[in-house]
Amino acid sequence: MVIKRLRDGIALRINSLFGSIFRKKKVVSIGIYGPVNAGKTTLANRICIDWLGEELGKVSNIPHETREIQMKENVTIKNNGKSLTFKLIDTPGIATKIDFEDFVKHGMKKKAAKERAKEATKGVIESIKWLEKMDLVMVVLDSTKDPLDQVNITILGNLDARDTPFVIVANKCDVKRSKASRVRDAFPKYKIVGVSAKTGFNIEELYHSLLEAL
């Protein structure tokens, strides 16, 4: 009996010792979500340039430029003596409609436009599926547009329902008709940071919010 207890005790100690040495630390995943053309990839690029010195993805005025999940590992942000290392995940914009004719209006050929629309639909489905993998989300909204768009409400509702922490990023604050206050009025109970991913305006405040949110 005593020997058995001793043996179990030693086994437990060894397990705990090796466990702590070999146990892989969970990588924090931070996702960038939002409607189409809100500036998600511009923000991802801003973060990656600030902390890794390289961009993450291509940016375009044509909607649905990002049609696949893109990510960068080991991004470390630092603010006020705190730091956080994470995997940054840029997701395709979520939409309820994708009309290939919109791409034609941007000068694309019909065949290419149809292909882009098909890829974009897959991208939206992927974005929704990846929601459950996120530890923290930056919900990027275009502050020049109506914040009460159904896509925004659906994204926020899903994050709320999953208890996933998030920060609302009211982007495009550099644009004259931008109204970050409208975003604050629309979602008064959530943390909102007004930034310009393009110019870097108030980006330090966003880094501070990310460190606070986790």
Partner: protein, 118 residues
Amino acid sequence: MRKIKIKFMPYEVFRKRKLSQIFNELKDSTILLIDAKLSAQEEAKIIEETMKKVSGKFSGIELSSLEMHDGDMATHFDKIKNILLETITGKKRGMTIMGPAKIVRKIEKDPEDLLLYM
């Protein structure tokens, strides 16, 4: 002239229907009015299904829901009744409108009203 149908659908019926049946209605130039606010998960599911159905002929949908908040209710009794009903039936007080994007150009939230532009 294109015929547009507006169909009222009780939430209980919506829940029983398969999404494929709902989309057959939407593709058939029908605007659906549901007497409840859909849950965020239901909305996400509808967006996913919409994306699977997008084609050259069907570009997707416009969707918007309005939730009745506790503050909008007149008395404390109404609020308690609402909480109990929501817990038992899973039905959120409010309304949802969805229609094919080819017909419904935009739905604007006021935020207390829904404005449908066709």
